[in-house]
């Protein structure tokens, strides 16, 4: 059992509280996405719908995996990830979390379109860039741009996929399920026929689950960074790993050590592509710089420390931290090898497998973190319904949706977000669902929803830069006052 002094304990509570606050706000920000259709169509009573949605969000976080969590974490440069236990690392995490929370809450309060994913990703990029500027580094090293590009692509493609798939699905329903009941808007007090009701409840459940699995993981990744920063001895490596898992990691490091030894030309090509100015700067605040030339040492250190080990708790505190640092540095080098265009396919496959095995003890989340995030997101979803503010205006009198449109948009959102989870990519639940609705409206010849397109565009031109500026500004202030 860990023993914590009062100051560390309070710091820990505050930090985890901020991260859970972000998830809670995310939950009530996105309530409408999850339950609007079933309540509007009278498929479920509001109370039952929000409780069901909250529970599905909870389950989504708990059993949805952690691939997306670490996709978010890896937006940060590896030099921060190996230095998260110093003051600069920690204030960076606080700055991005506070910025994301403020922007999410502010846009909800003002009724502005926003996406939690764009907010979080903008915040990460903001602190990364300001950190690079403060340290006199090139801005290209402040953010893991390769990962950022992958994430941007996912955020950009997913609404398009949602729009087209929902359009196709509704067209298919019109052709193969022409039952007029399915293609009309709710009328009167009675709920829809049983099968339509079940379809709507099922797709609502799926959207809530998918929301939990994708959005919840973003908070999980950040809480893990906080825990590793405040309690490095305990959370640097997954102490629940059994001997087989430790052996797998050890074998991956040994294989990589052998690979680096026998493929100097690959290492040289990766070194040639590195930003040497960063590696040569000895006055950086972050004490560790991962360079490809250190890959061999890192692999050897891991192999030496993990050889014959049965539990990570048998390692000294400082050794757990150094193994984590070596794993992240070696993983970063392997990622750079994988970017070499001429890398043979067989090498690429082996490196990808070893990379996954190597990272395994550092990419985890304890059950209590999953449960805490799941609870915050679930409660946020339940409370969010109570906080929906009605704004009387002409839109209310003109907005309707047929059962088929609701079910199609929700089914597509559920599948798109589920696919993103499997691929370990963050997406905007709000954008995927609203573009799905827009696709069904276009297919139903109700016209293209220009307001949806405007909302999506605003997330790119407003939320992304705003979150970057707020997070970067906060990081600079924290740096001046606390670093």
């Amino acid at each position: 059992m860990m023993e914590l002094d009062a100051q560390t304990f309070l710091f820990l509570i505050l930090s985890v509280g901020i991260a859970l606050g972000f998830e809670f706000i995310n939950g009530f920000h996105d309530t409408a996405n999850a339950v609007a259709t079933v309540i509007y169509t009278k498929s479920l009573k509001p109370r039952l719908a929000v409780v069901l949605s909250g529970c599905c969000n909870f389950l989504g976080v708990y059993i949805g995996g952690i691939a997306v969590a670490y996709a978010i974490v890896h937006l940060l440069p590896v030099d921060l990830l190996v230095s998260v236990n110093n003051s600069s690392g920690m204030i960076m995490i606080y700055a991005l979390l506070l910025a994301a929370m403020l922007w999410n809450f502010g846009t909800w309060y003002l009724g502005l379109p926003a996406s939690s994913s764009h907010t979080l990703i903008g915040s990460i990029i903001g602190v990364g860039l300001v950190h690079a500027l403060i340290e006199g580094m090139s801005v290209s090293t402040g953010v893991n741009w390769a990962k950022a590009f992958e994430v941007f692509l996912s955020l950009l493609i997913s609404p398009v996929l949602g729009f087209l798939s929902a359009w196709l699905l509704l067209k298919a329903l019109q052709r193969f399920a022409p039952d007029p009941t399915l293609h009309k808007a709710p009328e009167g007090e009675t709920p829809p026929p049983f099968w339509i009701r079940m379809l709507l409840v099922l797709t609502c459940t799926g959207v809530s689950f998918a929301h939990g699995s994708n959005d919840g993981q973003k908070g999980v990744g950040l809480i893990m960074l906080i825990l590793i920063g405040i309690l490095p001895a305990h959370y640097a490596l997954n102490q629940a790993s059994d001997q087989a898992e430790i052996n797998t990691c050890w074998a991956a490091a040994a294989n990589l050590q052998n690979y680096v030894n026998t493929h100097r030309e690959i290492v040289d090509q990766a070194i040639a592509k590195e930003d040497l100015s960063l590696l040569e700067n000895q006055e950086l605040e972050f004490p560790v710089n991962c360079g490809v030339q250190h890959a061999l040492d890192a692999a050897a250190n891991i192999a030496q420390k993990l050889g014959g080990l049965t539990s990570f708790s048998d390692l000294k505190d400082e050794d757990r931290w150094s193994v984590r640092t070596d794993i992240l540095c070696l993983a970063d080098a392997v990622t750079k090898f994988l970017k070499i265009g001429t890398l043979p396919t067989q090498d690429r496959d082996s490196l990808t497998t070893w990379l996954k095995q190597l990272r395994s003890p550092t990419e985890y989340a304890p059950d209590w973190v999953l449960i805490a995030v799941a609870t915050a997101l679930g409660l946020g979803t339940m409370i969010g319904w109570k906080r929906i503010v009605v704004t009387i205006g002409e839109k209310i009198g003109k907005t309707h949706m047929t059962y088929a449109q609701g079910a199609s948009a929700q089914a597509v959102a559920m599948a798109t977000i589920g696919l993103a989870d499997v691929m370990g990519l963050p997406v905007s639940t709000t954008h995927v669902l609203s573009s799905g609705v827009a696709g069904t409206m276009a297919a139903g010849k109700s016209g293209l929803q220009m307001s949806t397109l405007r909302s999506i565009a605003l997330a790119w031109v407003l939320t992304l830069p705003a979150a970057m500026i707020i997070a970067g500004g906060l990081y600079y202030l924290f740096h001046v006052f606390f670093s």
Partner: protein, 60 residues
């Protein structure tokens, strides 16, 4: 007749700017009471559901 009543209430407000201005000043459940006094019957949940639908469609 809830959603239809809501449509009729909004049509009434559009045709009566003074009532529209008055309704815009009201909060939450007060709107439901105001509508009922004018002869339109819908619940607070139904009004919220319509607002939530707008949020969902517009991505806000």
């Amino acid at each position: 007749m809830a959603q239809e009543a809501l449509d009729l209430f909004m049509k009434f407000l559009e045709e009566n700017p003074e009532d529209m201005a008055a309704a815009k000043e009201l909060r939450g459940r007060e709107i439901v009471g105001y509508a009922r006094a004018k002869g339109f019957s819908f619940t607070w949940d139904e009004l919220q559901a319509r607002q939530a639908l707008i949020h969902m469609i517009e991505g806000t």
